[in-house]
Amino acid sequence: MTIPARFTEPADTTVEAPPKAKRKAAVRREVGRSIPRLESHAKVDGSAEYIYHLRLPGMLQGKICRSTVPHGRIVRIDASAALAIEGVHAVITGEDIRTLIPDPYYGPAFHDQPILAIGKVRYVGEPVAVVLAADLHVAEEAADQVVVEYEPLEPVFDEVAATKPGAPIIHDSLRPAGMFPDLQYLKGRSGTNVALDARVLHGDVEKGFAEADQVFENVFRSRKVVHATFEPTVSLAELNGSNGLTIHTSSQSPSYVRAEVSRLLGWPENRVRVRTAFLGGSFGAKLYIKLEALVAACALLVRKPVRIGLTMEEEFYTITKHGATVRIKTGMAKDGRIVAREVETWWNGGAYADIGPRVSQKSGFTAAGPYDIENVSLINYAVYTNDPPAGALRGFGISQIVWAYECQNDIIARSLGIDPLEFRRRNILHDGRPHATGTIMTNAEIDEVLDRLSDRMHWDVLFDHGSGPVRRGRGLAIGFKACIAPTTSVAVVNVYGDGSCCVSCSTVDMGQGSDTAMAQIAAETLGISTETVRVIHPDTDVTPYDMATLGSRSTYHMGNAVRLAAEDARAQLLRIAAATLQTDIEELEYRDGAVISRSGARMTMRGLMLARFGMQAGTVIGMGTFTPPYTKPDPRTGQSPQITPYWMLAGAAAEIEVDTETGRIRVTKLVNVGDVGCAINPAIAKRQLNGAGTMQLGFTLFEEMRFNEGQVINASLADYKIPGMLDVPEDLSAELVEFPHEHGPFGAKGVGETGMFSVSPAIANALCDAIGVRIMELPLTPERVLRAIRESENRPLESE
């Protein structure tokens, strides 16, 4: 690989980027190659395992009876009509759960969510009861026959309104979960819908505004959208012979499920076994507890295996992306430098916090953008409303934040008459400079991302905006994300008597290709070929702890754990050989299932096993644990010298056509550039960038959950459209910026979310470039665009 020259002196700043010696990647055999995915055959012949298809002997199917009101007290539940239906085995309510689990509230941030509603419901679609039957059709019919009477309470849906005095209070009091170290600062609260207000203070923002030559202030909004994974969420629970419970589940976080279900039951963790298979997509939908506690409780109550698999409609009532309102105020100096930025964000977390407080805090502290700004103030409110719960969705809040700062940056650049690319170059946060949290930027290739965008878009070439009803425009945006910290991954590499090996880890392959990446890392370290490595799917009885498969953390964290485990196994094999051959370990190398010494001596696996176990059988177990360093931010100022193990940098640029008579946008070109460290498997990394970019394209142009008094009115793929082939831009491309990260496994960083960050503002900026119309709210539907066009022409369309 050739490393291009990258540092150009910032033209009009006194900030000098410190010289950074870039390591040249060593010659690799397995890592860095686009090896076909290990499970390819199983995915094209229909045999790949998904939990949605698991059937257990004698199992009951559960169908959830859901709340029909957004906020209300449960007056009574009458299950008699449902129970009268032939084939109905049981109807379970929250009170039944309580006989087994006295305190049945769960959640990664707050213990606020009941397994089934108790006394009160907080959103339309909240699980109130479950009907169990051997036949799913019977369970479905009976679920409709459960009568629930509610005493309605006043609901609140808007995230800003929910924070105002006098707003209905959704939770009487809040109990922090205390499970994750990064959420230890959450406090017990009562009488408020604000679960968390997280702040970052850097410099003196008031002074910055006072000294600014010009101040810009805007409000940007994003609506709720949904993951719509094609394998719907599913969990099964069965009693096992060892006084415990086995949960088969489509989960991204099997280790967490084991811990949380054990806590709820008051059991030691070793009595709960959690296993997963391939996931048919996830994108953050299948994290923490979804159906696992419910099936566990049902199976224990009826002493039979229980399966609950959602329908696509029910996915809309289970977890969503956060809607957000972002107020952003920016002070500018005459020379086009940002001198102060204040961002206030209200995150619509819905009825239960899920992981919303972490979304608010983690994305919130990046809300000033990857820019060098002397005075920054960031405030984030994680807000309860009577919408369905919001949690993680690929990017963890970042795209809502980038939507605000990159749209506003374009507004400012245009207003000051500065080219949008040049505006960003002037303000970029270079390596070696402190971010608003005080953490120094390192291994963050923002300049390079901008350069590649500029090249791909031929930014310096005059652009034809067209004439007539169809106009053309182009736009770009950059964004960044900090990886979650602190978290731990543990891996085991097991080398068998014949030299073949298995990797045991709890990373879940939900489509991102982690099995192949982990196999490549193990193979590289052990000097064997990737195709011979087998990766064991998560099973908490077998695979060691992992925080979860989320936040683009697996390649870096689990990748390092797998590398360390393989190194450990290799070291053990070398020690056996060194003792037998009576030579220094430094003289030895393990490759292709044998140890070779510099002097030419060779020990095969047979010999190594004989030497170690006295026969040609045995196992060598290597273990690796990886926890990157982290310093908790000061709760008052958000300052931390070490807020993240690495930064993910992204840029997107788009060319669009907009039909000024219909408001319809057609994206003709979309470029996504991601700083990925060194890709373990470049083809998989690019596919992740393109896939994320296309998903965000849907969130930008048409995806939007629509509500009527808390009821989702488009909860199906008939009414909620996701991108299909005809929506994919003709010219869609992804580009990897590859500089080895000094602590990444073989230089790698995460990439799963990177392609989401910048797409929406790139398209909105292109729209403004095309017709001079600025839209502050996603999605950019034809109606919204047409209304804005007509508004700008002083002949507005009639309102709905």
Partner: protein
Amino acid sequence: MMNETRRIIRFTLNGRAATANIAIYETVIEVLQRDFNLFGGRESCGQGLCGCCTVLVNGTAVSGCLYLAAFVDGAEVVTVEGLADRGVLHPIQQAFVSKTGFQCGYCTPGFILMTEQLLKRYPHPTDDEIRHYLSGNLCRCAAYPDIIEAVKAAANKIQAVESDP
């Protein structure tokens, strides 16, 4: 109340004679999964809109989550499991492997069966033809560019096989 009218259907499933005792409201997907342990056809959206449930009935791709099992009585049904020939993948499957026309893989059997129908009608499809023909199959991971490449590679593979039998 559920009116249990049951009937016996006989059909050809992946080239073999098959019999099933079905309820009249059951779909092809339910019966294939329950009675034949075939999970390559998958219900996802439940409305015939995503294409995950695609199966071939008398050579035509149908949405198996809507298509009633009663209607396949006497018909020839092919699922993705019936494409490989004694463990050797069909050229379309091979192309989806070589171009990695998938990520999570849940929608993949549907794309493969729809591609089978596409290439029968248009052995050398253009990009536009591929996009339009496969627009009824959705992929939430959006592996679309790789799927298009896989379809083109499959067309070339099939042509090579046919011109050199």
